[in-house]
Amino acid sequence: MRWKKLMAASAMLIAAALTFTACGSTGANESGSSDSDTIKIAVLEDTSGDNSLVGVQKYHGAQLAIEEINESGGILGKQVEMIFSDCQSNNNVYQEMANKVILEDQVDVIMGCYTSASREAIRPIVEENNALLFYNNQYEGGVASHNVFCTGAVPEHQITTLMEGMIKEYGPKVYIIAADYNFGQISAMWVEQEIQNNGGELVGEEFIPLEVSQFSSTIANIQAAQPDVLVTLLVGTAQSSFYEQWGTSGIEGCPMASTVNIAQGYEHLRFNPPALENMYVTATYVEELDTPASNDFKDRWHAMFPDEPYIGMEAEAEYTGVYLYKAAVEKAGTTDVEAVIDALESGEISFDGPAGTVTIDGATHHAIRNVYLFKCNADHSLTLEETWEAVKPDWLSSVMGIDLRVEAPNEQYTPLD
Amino acid sequence: MSSETNEKVLLELIKVSKQFGGIQAVEDFDLKIQKGDLHCLIGPNGAGKTTVFKLITGQYPVSSGRIKFKGKDITSMSASKRARIGMSIKMQVPGVFEELTLRENIRIAAGNYTNAADLDAETERLIKLVKLDTIGNPPVRNMSHGQQQWLEIAMALSSNPEILLLDEPAAGMGPEETAFTADLVNELNAQGLTILFIEHDMDFVKQIARNVTVLHYGKKFAEGTVEEISNNPAVKQIYLGNV
């Protein structure tokens, strides 16, 4: 009995020691004091938990950008200090950390969030405290907020281009399978809309719960409908078993079209070929983009992170987001939030980066940027099929009539509204 | 049946049967317990004695037959209700709360029958009744097996029952403890409590029982006074020398 208590006591000590070590180490943060000699950027990403595959890339993207900026003199002559929190793919932690970085650390801007749920969890906190959030991630679109800027891909970027490209190349009959939650449902709505706009025909649609990993009946339905294009909007580990099953028993020659795969979670490197053969994806960036800017970026990235498995589109978005913020602060001449927002809304804030030129659209707070259609081959190499330049994220402005320079409703809209 | 007999019959089982799946545990069992009786239920292992007890208390529902208590049909009455109308049981395995103290145990048992103001006094009364008032207030797991049995009898008495069912009250006890238990049971009966108990130990039975019912393969085998049963050759035979 005494031995047991001794073991318990030492176990506690070990745990306590680990805790304190972890708190003090990683070198990620210094204590947050209101130091006006530095510019403080909070980075809230998921480096553990379900979303860490992409979260780690984004964290690295922020780190690379900030290091480069500091090496070339910082912003307005001040060094940039990063305050990083791993939000553990947990919305509650996002809320806690948002409160902390805004109220306690008093940072100048937040770069963060992966899922829409996490963004919506902290958006009220950001708006209430008149803070500034850069959401550097693909999502279903529709955020119209005074304090939020979205640099990632939205349906106008990915879906309009994808459906245009695929229907033109392969034919009008389209079947959709999508994950049964917000992102899948809203994306599917967009696809349906774009099918109409391109003179196509929806021959079938299925929404699949996130835990499902058996697709035999779905594949049978697709076979029966004989589409020209299969749009796949599948998310998560369970649903990823679809590709292999499709490869075995699907329609040969019928291409898959997606906005979610390859460019984020680098499935083409993680799954064995030829699982993703004949998949098309419209992305705002992939590592395989062969331009001087992209190759240079990759070299610098691998110099800092030699073991990085893949540099995806959200990694680039985060990197670009930091640089866009820098440009806005330099134009405003200050880190004061309202001044920076004014600068961003001027329409003149641009960054020439690895993905091409990215410009903030003042009316919608979203990014005008290039979109690339890539095809995944049998050996899982990627071929660039088509490029659209400077695609505008204009759904909020032209369809919903919103101009954030005039009035900010601070809501998220969907095509259902 | 005369009305006079009816008034004096406290507990009655009428053709009670119990099946578990394909097994007939109790079959067509009749039993009449008079008020004030000290009645013993004996029989070889597996004869169905404990099953009969569980049917009486309501832990098992009967497959067929009826049970009457104080003239009222209680066949479909819940166990907790039966406990509240004057039926009390001490189980074979001590059903005491081992992690709790002596007094906490009694408090729990008496909780439904005594109001809060009298609870302390009632607790002490019951402890004294089973002569456990000299050992302080230990956690029950520190008490001896015999003490736990007496504690449980005290708990069973907290509802001021009209009938007390005892399932092997002397089980696991040495000769001194057995004698004490026998005295206790006699004393309680002398105060007017009707007692029905199950026992194996024929010496114990002879010390205290007045009437005996013998159960064999779930059926009533014999019934009578203690003397009649102890001298019954057929009973001796099924017990193979235990008598």
Partner: protein, 346 residues
């Protein structure tokens, strides 16, 4: 219900209770507004933990469903407060949230306990209920999932939930802290007082031996339904307060990992003792928050390790063990004997 005479023994636990309450009352004077606000959030977790301490620690009902009632409370408050669109009515939404959580708990309990279901199977059924509810809410992203014009929002949940107002007075950071603290303190003290009452003992009896309790005249299924309903109400309060604090609620607040975590925390602290559950839940929240703030990637690993170690070595709860340790060390020091060793009662 008349209470038996209270004997205030100066055990380590009672001292700690007083210290905790005093500390909670004066905390806002020593902390920044941010930290005060975060403590409100910790307190909602603690209230959820107390609901488990009540139904499991006191009564032996092992439920994986408390997060579901947390979520029902939070969602109801969110939907109603947005529907009313009137800050003065937020307390009404609060009460409705608690009431609905309690009602659902009552129905579920009625089916379970009067159906004779107990022990492991209650755990399974409540687990299934939680999974079903969170999955259902997760797929409500479409426009057809609206109540009035409040979208359920699927995985994104419901945003811009108004905070609590009393009349036109907004319960801002510090005020909200005191609202949460007072509710937590009230529930906590009620649980402590309950222990020594007849009702408290009946719960104890049911926890220790259900069948035997029935034979002592306790209507066990009825008591279990009442307890489970109250537990659901307490979890519902926690959910309402959380939604009002964070202005946000999602299905992830009521999924299986949320349900499991709180059970583990209460087990690790000491389930039979509300003080232990309270201390450990809050301590864990503080550690988790500190680890996350530090930016360490190993936060989840460390937290998991701590919980595993505690459950392995101190299965009755580490805080309970600490109390026992302090008590016995104190007795050795003063040479007093305990009741159980034959000494006098205090």
């Amino acid at each position: 219900m008349r209470k038996t005479k209270m004997q205030f023994s100066l055990g380590s636990e009672n001292i700690i209770t007083v210290l905790l309450l005093v500390a909670g009352a004066i905390l806002p004077f020593f902390l920044s507004t941010y930290r005060v606000s975060i403590f409100s959030y910790f307190f909602t977790s603690a209230i959820l933990g107390l609901s488990i301490s009540f139904i499991w620690g006191y009564t032996g009902i092992f439920s994986f469903g408390q997060a579901a009632f947390f979520g029902i409370g939070g969602y109801t408050y969110g939907i109603l407060s947005k529907l009313f669109d009137n800050n003065a009515l937020t307390p009404v939404a609060l009460v409705a949230g608690v009431a609905l959580a309690a009602a659902v708990a009552a129905i579920l309990a009625w089916f379970m306990f009067y159906g004779g279901i107990n022990d492991v199977f209650v755990g399974l059924i409540t687990m299934c209920f939680t999974i079903a509810l969170s999955t259902f809410l997760g797929q409500t992203a479409g426009s057809e999932w609206k109540i009035g014009d409040v979208s359920l929002g699927g995985f994104n949940g419901i945003t811009k939930i108004p905070t609590l107002y009393f009349g036109s007075y907004k319960c801002d950071k510090v005020t909200f802290y005191y609202v949460t603290f007072l509710i937590l303190a009230a529930i906590y003290i009620a649980l402590l007082l309950l222990k020594k009452t007849k009702a408290g003992y009946s719960l104890l009896a049911i926890r220790e031996n259900r069948t035997r309790s029935e034979l002592f005249g306790y209507n066990v299924p009825k008591i279990q339904v009442i307890v489970f309903t109250i537990g659901g109400a307490i979890a519902g309060i926690a959910g309402v307060l959380y939604a009002a604090w964070g202005n946000y609620i999602t299905p992830s607040n009521l999924d299986l990992s949320a349900s499991t975590l709180v059970v583990v925390l209460v087990a690790a602290g000491g389930r039979k003792n509300p003080t232990a559950a309270l201390i450990f839940t809050i301590a864990y929240s503080i550690i988790a928050n500190t680890l996350s703030s530090s930016g360490s990637q190993y936060a989840l690993v460390i937290l998991g390790l701590i919980l595993i170690l505690v459950i392995l070595f101190v299965p009755n709860g580490i805080i309970t063990a600490a109390f026992d340790g302090i008590d016995s060390a104190w007795r050795k020091f003063t040479g007093k004997k305990t009741e159980s060793e034959g000494g006098e009662t205090a």
